[in-house]
């Protein structure tokens, strides 16, 4: 009330009894009209400036969250399928590796056996050849000895034939031959 008194142009003009106040209980058409208008205005204010704006933001956020959830869902599905893929591949690879190892082991075994067999064979060959060589050498040596003996015999015979054989000579000859 005091505030309104400070504004001269707003000071009361007249009231029914000249005091500037309306009665405590009365029907004021102006008040009713303007309160109705104010109610409408305040409703529109709340509607336009609070509820619609906030609802827009909330909807946007809701959409975001929804999108996020959908994204997460698809990402999860992707990850799951990729994981399944990888698991499958991994088990495949394991199988393959096992197969590989098994076949390699088998091959290696076969190969090893082959090598051993070959080596045995070769060794057999070598042994056989060596035996043959030895046999040949032996034969050759025997032949050589035979030849030499026959040569010596021929030598001795020719020497005997050259000289007059006497006992002394003969002994000498034999000694000579042996010491040769």
């Amino acid at each position: 009330m005091q505030i309104l008194d400070l504004i001269p142009s707003l000071s009361p003009i007249a009231a029914s009894d000249g005091s500037g106040f309306t009665p405590f209980i009365t029907i004021e058409l102006g008040t009713i009209i303007f309160v109705l208008l104010n109610l409408l205005i305040i409703y529109l204010l709340f509607k336009k400036f609070l509820f619609e704006r906030v609802q827009k933001i909330l909807d946007a956020r809701q959409n975001d969250v929804q999108a996020m959830y959908t994204d997460a869902e698809t990402a999860k599905e992707n990850a799951l399928s990729i994981e399944a893929d990888y698991t499958e591949k991994l088990s495949q690879a394991k199988d393959e590796a096992n197969e590989l190892v098994r076949s390699a082991t088998k091959r290696a075994q076969i190969r090893g056996e082959e090598i051993v067999n070959e080596a045995k064979e070769q060794a057999g060959h070598i042994k056989k050849r060596a035996e043959e060589d030895i046999e040949r050498e032996k034969k050759r040596a025997i032949n050589q000895i035979k030849d030499e003996i026959s040569d010596i015999a021929i030598d001795a015979a020719s020497k005997i034939a050259q000289k007059e054989i006497n006992a002394a000579d003969q002994e000498k000859l034999i000694e000579e031959f042996i010491s040769m």
Partner: protein, 230 residues
């Protein structure tokens, strides 16, 4: 005790009283507050004022949904506006102004608006014939009583709100006057006794009573409108 002060007169006997002037002040304050609360909002709330704005909207939406159901969600801004108008209209008594709600024209206008909404919802729900027939329920003999109760609803709503706030105002001013004369009687240079006691009383009459009446008025509006749709 006087009514609201007359500020100026328009033609056709339309008087602009203190009530209307203060209502405009409230409207401007509400508009500024709402613009402040909701300007540059973001999807991820970082400012406190946006949190407050969202809280208001969600609280009002929940209240309306709980009391009126999903199909009356359009009433949420109206209820919020009515609540704010009523609260601020009562609370301006705290700064020494005349409460807007201590004017019977204000509360009567609100109550009549509610009653009109109730009638419209009734006609919409059951058709005009069904609406007229509804007055003769459960027996035709109590038709006058039903009609009286339709009128007594806005009257009691208006006078309840007006009565609480106006009575608070009257009692506060009586106590101020009484304390002033008591201070004068014991020769105090300034009315020192006016300090203290009125603050406690205004805590009850202005704050508690203001909130309570605003809540009850909005609650009754919601319940009457939603029960009119049954």
């Amino acid at each position: 005790m006087n009514g609201p002060k007359l500020i100026f007169q328009l033609p056709f006997g339309i008087n602009i009283t203190e009530t209307v002037f203060l209502s405009w002040c409230i409207i401007v304050a509400v508009a500024l507050l709402l613009l402040y609360l909701t300007h540059d909002m973001e999807k991820v709330p970082t400012k406190k004022r946006q949190v407050i704005a969202e809280w208001i909207v969600e609280t009002m939406n929940n209240l309306v949904k709980e009391n009126m159901g999903e199909k009356f969600m359009g009433f949420a801004p109206y209820i919020a506006g009515l609540f704010t108008y009523s609260i601020l209209g009562s609370l301006i008594g705290l700064i020494g102004l005349r409460p807007v709600t201590a004017d019977i024209n204000t509360t009567a206008t609100w109550a009549v608006t509610t009653a009109l909404m109730v009638q419209i919802v009734k006609v919409r729900t059951s058709g005009f014939g069904g609406y007229l027939k509804g007055f003769a329920e459960p027996v035709a003999a109590i038709t006058p009583l039903n009609i009286i109760s339709e009128f007594s609803t806005p009257v009691s709503m208006a006078f309840r709100h007006f009565g609480n706030i106006a009575a608070g105002m009257v009692i506060s001013s009586l106590i101020y006057m009484g304390l002033a004369s008591l201070s004068a009687a014991i020769h105090l240079p300034i009315p020192l006794l006016q300090v203290g006691l009125p603050a406690i009383l205004s805590l009850y009459f202005d704050i508690f009573s203001g909130f309570m009446q605003a809540y009850i008025f909005c609650m009754l509006t919601m319940v009457f409108i939603s029960s009119a749709a049954e």
